[in-house]
């Protein structure tokens, strides 16, 4: 059942907010140990929130998310509840204020079930690099969930919540959504406030949604978007009403198919599923337009240079003194900081900080950081050119389906290459939505992505919904066995 239908059922008292919440808590208790999608479960808070939501519903004042059980990625601050970023560094950190998005969910009287697992500080594509252990894929628990919002995607896929807030810096919502067979919406940069999000790479970070459908993603986005005086990158170009193109005809929509997304390195099965989806849209009256993003080959390098540079700066605040893990080994000031960071951060975070400092250091800045910024500008221009001819762009979400756990463990570069289909969207700051469009020979989901013009989430949501209505989805049940 999607959020609008559940909304109706709640408003008509066919189910109470408390009954709904208890169903999800029961499922979390039964399955989370196997999947590891939650780091913190807030049972007591959720029960109380459900009771309050019911009062609002009874008074006839319910909003779209009132009484709807959701989860939040563990890098988004929630007042009085642990926010760990899946790191030893923040394993005891309790935020003293709510992130703007957490506050908005609470203002809507939605029920926050808990905080979801992730790659430490959002740095990874598998959700295996968590201090709390990796997230398992609900379609097959021997496979990764994708990352970094792997807990968000797995919690939706396994029906341990109805929707989940994730964050997307280089594909961290879309990739796990693809691997776990759910829908993931990354809004345009500037649509959602990041105030209270523990920053990874500020020029790319964006909060978005994992849910069971495009409709549900749009409902949640409607509740969390908007200008915030605490995040000066938020834009008044974001207008809301993200379900406005649901159930409208898609006839005449021009869909760009960039050839670079269908070259070497993309699995044949993935290519074929995406092209099938393209043909579906053609049959629905859309026009397919061949196009090109020639600079895509530089996107991964540029992304990892800039995101690591920003991470090295953002993570310099963790010194073991003001908050976070503190080493007990030293009495010397500099060694205290060094040892707290060395013991508190995991290997991937250390690698990114080291790379960030490398590309920013004297003698390398122009060759790497400055050059990467210019690549970003070029990629942004190339997307803008395509959008002169097309309304949306269709690509694979990932070059492959989910990997087996351990497959990229000792090979960071191999893991980075898995982001090839997603990072350019963050570089260009565009909105994108990923949904399931097929299954591989092992039954693992294949994801396709629709990329939209800046602040035109409505078109990609509408197109995605159209496909989802005709696509026969297989439920994830491996974790139940």
């Amino acid at each position: 059942m999607n959020i609008p239908k559940l909304r109706k059922a709640l408003n008509e008292h066919k189910i109470s907010a408390l009954e709904l919440t208890e169903v999800y808590i029961k499922r979390i208790k039964k399955y989370n140990q196997k999947l590891n999608s939650y780091i913190t479960v807030c049972e007591e808070e959720a029960i109380n929130a459900a009771k309050t939501a019911q009062e609002i519903i009874d008074n006839g004042d319910a909003g779209i998310l009132t009484g709807i059980p959701v989860s939040i990625k563990d890098n988004i601050c929630t007042k009085g509840i642990k926010t760990t970023c899946a790191s030893k560094m923040l394993c005891d950190f309790v935020s003293v204020y709510d992130a703007t998005v957490s506050e908005k969910l609470k203002e809507n009287f939605s029920v926050i079930l808990g905080k979801t697992n992730m790659d430490e500080f959002g740095m990874g594509s598998t959700s295996q690099m968590s201090y709390y252990g990796g997230v398992k894929n609900p379609y097959n628990i021997d496979y990764v969930s994708g990352g970094s919002s792997g807990g968000a995607a797995a919690s939706v896929s396994a029906k341990l919540c109805l929707a989940s807030l994730g964050t997307d810096t280089g594909g961290s919502i879309r990739l796990p959504a693809s691997f776990c067979g759910v829908t993931g919406l990354k809004p345009t940069y500037g649509t959602v406030s990041r105030y209270g999000l523990i920053a990874f790479a500020s020029s790319f970070d964006q909060i978005g949604v994992c849910a069971n459908s495009a409709v549900d993603c749009a409902c949640v986005l409607d509740a969390i978007y908007g200008v915030d005086k605490n995040d000066l990158t938020t834009s008044n170009k974001a207008k809301g009403n993200y379900t406005s193109k649901i159930d409208r005809t898609v006839k005449g929509v021009k869909i760009g198919i960039p050839k670079e997304f269908f070259g070497d390195g993309i699995d044949d099965g993935v290519k074929s599923a995406i092209l099938n989806a393209a043909n579906y849209y053609k049959a629905m009256g859309c026009e397919l337009v061949e196009c090109s993003i020639p600079s895509l080959e530089y996107a991964l390098g540029a992304y990892y240079i800039i995101s690591s540079a920003e991470a090295s700066s953002n993570l310099s605040r963790f010194d073991g003194i003001r908050f976070g893990f503190r080493s007990d080994k030293d009495t010397d000031f500099n060694n205290l900081i060094k040892h707290s960071r060395s013991e508190g951060f995991g290997d991937e975070v250390k690698r990114r900080i080291m790379l960030g400092n490398y590309v920013l250091s004297s003698g390398y800045y122009d060759e790497y950081y400055n050059r990467a910024q210019k690549i970003c500008k070029k990629i942004k221009e190339e997307y803008a050119q395509i959008f002169k001819m097309c309304d949306v762009i269709l690509t694979p979400t990932a070059p492959t389906t989910a990997y087996r756990i351990g497959e990229t463990e000792n090979n960071p570069v191999k893991m980075y290459l898995g982001d090839i289909c997603t990072v350019s969207v963050n570089i260009a700051g565009l909105p994108a939505i990923s949904t399931t469009c097929g299954y591989d020979e092992n039954g693992m989901p294949i994801g396709m992505t629709l990329v939209g013009k800046p602040f035109d989430e409505c078109t990609i949501v509408g197109l995605c919904d159209c496909f989802e209505k005709d696509f026969e989805k297989k439920e994830a049940i491996a974790y139940e066995l």
Binding site: I306, F333, Y358
Partner: protein, 92 residues
């Protein structure tokens, strides 16, 4: 493998420390990652000016005094405090 001196220098800049047995792995990893990042050197930058900022900012908020954290809130997450202050080892 990345030069040992480079790893020491980067670790110093990063306020990190690697044990002797960790050095080989981080050197190998950094070598592979730097080679991966080297791809950007093939990009022709002639058409671009000196600097480019990828982020467009909205309007700045008014410079007004707003409430901050109380001492209790600011010190809630520290492991060692002294009279409501952050405690650090002696530096003098």
């Amino acid at each position: 493998m990345a030069d040992k001196n480079l790893i020491y220098k980067l670790a110093q800049l990063s306020k990190l420390e690697f044990k002797e047995q960790e050095l080989k792995k981080i050197s190998e990893d950094m070598d592979a990652i730097i080679k991966f990042a080297d791809k950007v050197k093939e990009f022709d930058t002639k058409a671009f000016g000196e600097k480019y900022d990828a982020v467009e900012y909205g309007s700045l908020r008014d410079d007004e005094c707003i409430g901050g954290l109380t001492n209790k809130e600011a010190t809630l997450n520290i492991q060692e405090k002294n009279n409501g202050c952050f405690a650090v080892p002696k530096v003098i």
